[in-house]
């Protein structure tokens, strides 16, 4: 009897999620033993048409990472959705939009102009831009096009489960595989990580006093931080309280504050708004000038509170940009 078919695919992402699969180390053998991989562009050579040729729902599970920002990615997402019983958004980009979704603060034109014209590291004097199609030697290839809006996977197709993280940890991935293969699955739409904020597993938690009152905020590069003390107690924005746990507090263990890649808990609709609310409520000042002065340490609230979650935020995108 043949094994369950599994597909991996990457859209707008850095590739880190793919690395994670490899990071399963010897456990990957266990996985490979139990499944048939039908698509894994980073490691194996399959053609899209092979996938297209598969019967609908014939793939047991697809782990798709990356945000959807190009027409090709959208197309593959739609295709894989059709072919898979379970479509799993794998990693922060697929789940929340991730770093690529920060582009939602700019218009497509702004993005293209910067990348093909203004970027200082660029040598493109002709200011050539990628075309949707071109004809050469009688052939007309079509190129993938950049969407106006960067989207999460579930804003394009129906998603069954989410594995959070930038990237997801091997442990979560392994646990997800085990759950999938054992058939003991949570309700549809679940995030396969603990539904409790990061502080729960952060070793610094004990050092946070119960009377924090912020007078200023610092960014990570603006100081040397006590490696044992809660970042918030040191005045550094740490997204831990508003972010799911499950990463093993990897960043805070490495003396960097949490930036929120696991996304919010299930009870939260907008991770950034909640973190903003929590931080601001605890500012010490009572007058507008004092409050503004304290909050001046957060010069880029969108980038701070929605580093991974902009596409998934309630407003999704800078609202005055063209469709």
């Amino acid at each position: 009897m043949s094994k369950p078919k599994v597909a991996f695919y990457w859209c707008a992402s850095c590739g880190g999620c793919e690395e994670t699969v490899v990071d399963l180390a010897e456990d990957i053998l266990g996985v490979v033993e139990k499944v048939d991989i039908v698509l894994w562009p980073v490691a194996m050579d399959f053609k899209y048409k092979d996938v297209a040729a598969l019967p609908d729902k014939s793939i047991f599970a697809t782990l798709l990472n990356g945000a959807i920002r190009m027409s090709e990615q959208e197309e593959l997402a739609v295709l894989l959705r059709r072919k898979s019983q379970y479509l799993i958004a794998y990693g922060a980009c697929a789940q929340l939009g991730g770093i690529p979704a920060l582009a939602n603060q700019f218009s497509r034109e702004q993005v293209l102009k910067f990348n093909y014209e203004d970027c200082p590291a660029l040598a493109n004097e002709a200011k050539t831009r990628p075309q949707a199609q071109f004809t050469e030697a009688g052939r007309t290839p079509h190129l993938s096009q950049l969407h106006h809006v960067v989207r999460t996977l579930d804003q394009v197709v129906d998603v069954d489960f989410y594995i959070p993280g930038c990237p997801p940890t091997p442990n979560l991935t392994k646990a997800a595989f085990e759950a999938l293969l054992s058939g003991k699955l949570p309700p549809k739409g679940a995030v396969l990580a603990p539904d409790i904020a990061l502080c729960d597993e952060c070793e610094r938690k004990a050092t946070k006093p119960t009377d924090v009152a912020f007078t200023e905020f610092k960014r990570p590069h603006q100081g040397l931080w006590d490696s044992g003390k809660c970042f918030l107690a040191q005045g550094v924005v740490c997204m831990g309280p508003a972010t799911r746990s499950g990463c093993g507090a990897a960043c805070t263990s490495g003396n960097m504050p949490c930036t929120g890649c696991f996304g919010p808990t299930s009870r939260v609709r907008d991770q950034g708004a909640k973190m903003l609310s929590s931080l601001c409520s605890n500012v010490a000042a009572k007058d507008v000038a004092g409050i503004q002065q304290a909050l001046a340490g957060i010069p880029d609230p969108v980038g701070t509170f929605y580093r991974y979650g902009l596409a998934k935020s309630l407003l999704r995108r800078r609202v005055d940009l063209p469709a």
């Binding site: 409790i196 729960d200 808990t265």
Partner: protein
């Protein structure tokens, strides 16, 4: 897996409130539109939902139609939420399966376009329908009431409220800022319109207060801190050092004549600065308690400096003849310090009174410039037999040829000084017309002078008041309808020389007049106390835009405040005369007794709680709670809320970064569904 969700059966009722709502909102259309919403089992419109039949309708429908949620669209929930929760409960449902929509105060009464108002009502109704689906059954908690009462302020209001409660067997703490109780009334000579002597009717009450076994009287004391909530207030009172041991002072006042100051030379506030007193003094003969006070600002025993704790430095330079005179009683103690007392009470009655308007703020009337311009309160002391002149009305400036002080031959009383004026106070001070006439009568009696009253409108709405006006007319007092333009000493004619001239339009005759007089009396209005803002914060009350403490409802709850267990009486709530003040004080005492005798209060179950499983222990919420109701369990590394301390503001809920705190009655899901609802219309 969770149990199958019970099917929603919402009953919706829209109230016409007679024409109040129906004239601006198409109630039938609202009911028809709500009817179609998911979960709605029935939707009705009805003339008066708050009436008995309206309430019975809800109860019947709950039984007959198996309703499990109720929404009523009518007036403000602050008015009738309680009523409809009661009806819901009487119908056999948990009262919190009810939600109320305000389409009167927030809709029909404030809009002018029927279609728009109807659309708004529909949207608000839809929001409630969506919201109520998330409602949960909650339990009302009963909290016992501490039977003692704090009365703040010892004027006639405080005295009457304290006496009423004490006579009913309740323990009362009466706290007064001045060395004696009595307030403004103790300064008055006679009271209108009956002209009975203020002291004669007040002082017996004062001494009763002083000796009542159920009243703890603390004069020369300030309330400095109030904690807790209805039924359970903890109050801190500062008893200021009076340098006299109250229990040892017998009130013999032997110390006063023996003070090293032979003559009184310091401003006597009780006599409005018209008299003088010594450093050791008793404010007035009938003062309660009969205990003297030493003023450290002027007593030679004190240096003009402060110890680190804020108390004045004792100098020991004086011969201390007062101590000698006190003798074995040993009641004088120069080392006395302010003392902080903490008491527990269930209810508080605030009777902090008023201050009179500072007449110097109307420079055109010359108070402070011309010596013979007086305030009405100064005249009260001047005509008072126990006042600084023994009741003789003599002018501050000017002597008779024989050198004796001059008595006025003509007096002008100017009404509405600091009242009915947008530049000072816009309100009518309500008592000035009457007391001006009273003073006119008394001055006439004392001096036989020619009296002029300058008024804008005569306001005499009270029992026997108009009759009093008539009496004054009979006495020959001139009433000139016109607000005085200016008081000046510049003469145009020989008879004006050396006089104060009042320039005014006699609006009834339609002519401008100049009237020379010897004395001008300014009928100053009533103002909130200078520290009303602090007092308001102390007791968690509200102030109106004018600065008077705000009653919960101008008609239906005139002595209640927005804080349960805190009541108002007397002029701190707005200008009023003595009968009204006493009536209000009695009402406030009765309101307090309602709570005491019931023994408990019901608490709105809108407290917050932390989802224990979900709390990550980030501690963000802990510093936010002003009542320290949120604690951190060090063992389990999670926060938890002490429900008894939580007052249900929801600030921690709004701030919890992982949404792990829930507020009953205001859950996230309930509010999100309300937002969805109000935006559902086209």
């Amino acid at each position: 897996m969770s149990a199958k969700k019970e099917e929603l059966r919402i009953g919706f009722y829209v109230c016409h409130c007679g024409h109040n709502i129906a004239s601006m909102v198409d109630c039938v259309a609202v009911a028809r539109s709500v009817e179609k919403l998911p979960g709605v089992a029935l939707a009705r419109d009805y003339k008066y939902m708050c009436s008995d039949p309206g309430q019975v309708l809800i109860q019947q429908d709950i039984r007959e139609h198996k309703l499990n949620r109720i929404v009523v669209a009518s007036c403000s929930p602050l008015l009738h939420e309680h009523t409809f929760r009661g009806a819901t409960e009487a119908g056999g449902l948990n009262p919190f399966y009810f939600h109320m929509v305000n389409i009167r105060e927030h809709d029909s009464w404030v809009h002018t376009d029927r279609q728009e108002a109807t659309e708004k009502a529909k949207a608000l109704a839809e929001a409630a329908i969506r919201r109520v689906a998330h409602h949960k059954a909650l339990e009302i908690k009963k909290v016992p009431i501490h039977p003692d009462v704090l009365v703040v302020g010892g004027g006639i209001a405080g005295i009457h409220a304290a006496m009423t409660l004490a006579n009913a067997g309740k323990k009362v703490y009466l706290v007064e800022r001045e060395p004696s109780i009595g307030g403004h009334m103790a300064k008055f000579d006679k009271t209108f319109p009956t002209l009975d002597c203020a002291a004669c009717i007040l002082t017996p009450k004062m001494s009763e207060v002083g000796s009542h076994p159920n009243i703890t009287l603390w004069t020369y004391s300030d309330v400095t801190k109030v904690d807790g909530y209805v039924g359970n207030y903890t109050v801190q009172v500062k008893r200021k050092a009076r340098y006299i041991i109250e229990d040892l002072c017998t009130g013999c006042q032997d110390c006063i004549p023996n003070c090293v100051f032979k003559e009184p030379k310091f401003t006597d506030d009780f006599n409005e600065g018209l008299g003088k007193r010594k450093p050791v003094y008793i404010p007035f003969p009938q003062a309660t308690p009969q205990v003297v006070v030493i003023d450290p600002e002027v007593c030679l025993n004190f240096k003009r400096g402060k110890n680190p704790d804020g108390s004045p430095i004792v100098s020991d330079k004086c011969k201390k003849t007062c101590v000698e005179a006190c003798g074995e009683k040993n009641a004088i103690d120069f080392t006395q310090k302010d003392e902080l007392k903490e008491i527990k009470v269930g209810n508080i009655i605030v009777c902090t009174g008023f201050k009179t308007f500072d007449a110097g703020r109307v420079p055109a009337y010359g108070y402070g410039t011309y010596k013979n311009v007086y305030t009405s309160l100064e005249i009260e002391r001047l005509v008072n037999a126990s006042g600084p002149t023994g009741g003789e009305v003599i002018l501050r400036e000017g002597k008779n040829p024989d050198g004796s002080p001059k008595t006025p031959k003509s007096i002008g009383i100017i009404h509405c000084v600091g009242s009915r004026d947008k530049k000072t106070n816009i309100w009518c001070s309500r008592v000035c017309c009457m007391y001006s006439m009273k003073l006119a009568h008394l001055l006439k009696e004392h001096t036989d002078a020619e009296l002029y009253n300058f008024y804008i409108d005569m306001r005499t709405p009270g029992k026997g008041y108009e009759e009093f006006y008539n009496k004054l007319l009979e006495e020959g007092t001139h009433f000139i309808r016109g607000r005085v333009g200016e008081v000046t000493d510049w003469a145009m004619t020989p008879e004006e020389e050396g006089k104060l001239v009042i320039r005014v339009e006699d609006t009834l005759a339609g002519v401008v007049r100049r009237i020379p007089v010897d004395m001008v009396v300014l009928a100053t209005g009533l103002e909130p106390q200078a520290d009303a803002g602090d007092v308001r914060r102390l007791f968690n009350m509200s102030c109106g835009g004018d600065g008077w403490f705000l009653e919960r409802h101008p008609k239906l709850a005139p002595v209640n405040t927005f804080t349960d267990g805190v009541f108002l009486a007397g002029c701190c709530q707005g200008p009023k005369d003595i009968p009204d003040t006493v009536a209000q004080a009695g009402a406030a005492a009765a309101e307090a007794m309602v709570l005491i005798d019931r023994g408990y209060v019901e608490q709105e179950p809108n407290t917050a709680f932390i989802l224990d499983q979900e709390c990550s222990g980030c501690k963000s919420c802990i510093p936010l709670c002003p009542y320290t109701a949120i604690l951190f369990d060090e063992e389990r590394k999670k926060a938890y809320i002490n429900e008894a301390l939580c007052k249900g503001c929801g600030t921690c809920v709004g701030a919890c970064p992982s949404s792990s705190i829930v507020q009953n009655l205001f859950e996230d899901s309930e509010i999100f569904s309300e937002i969805e609802g109000v935006l559902s219309y086209d």
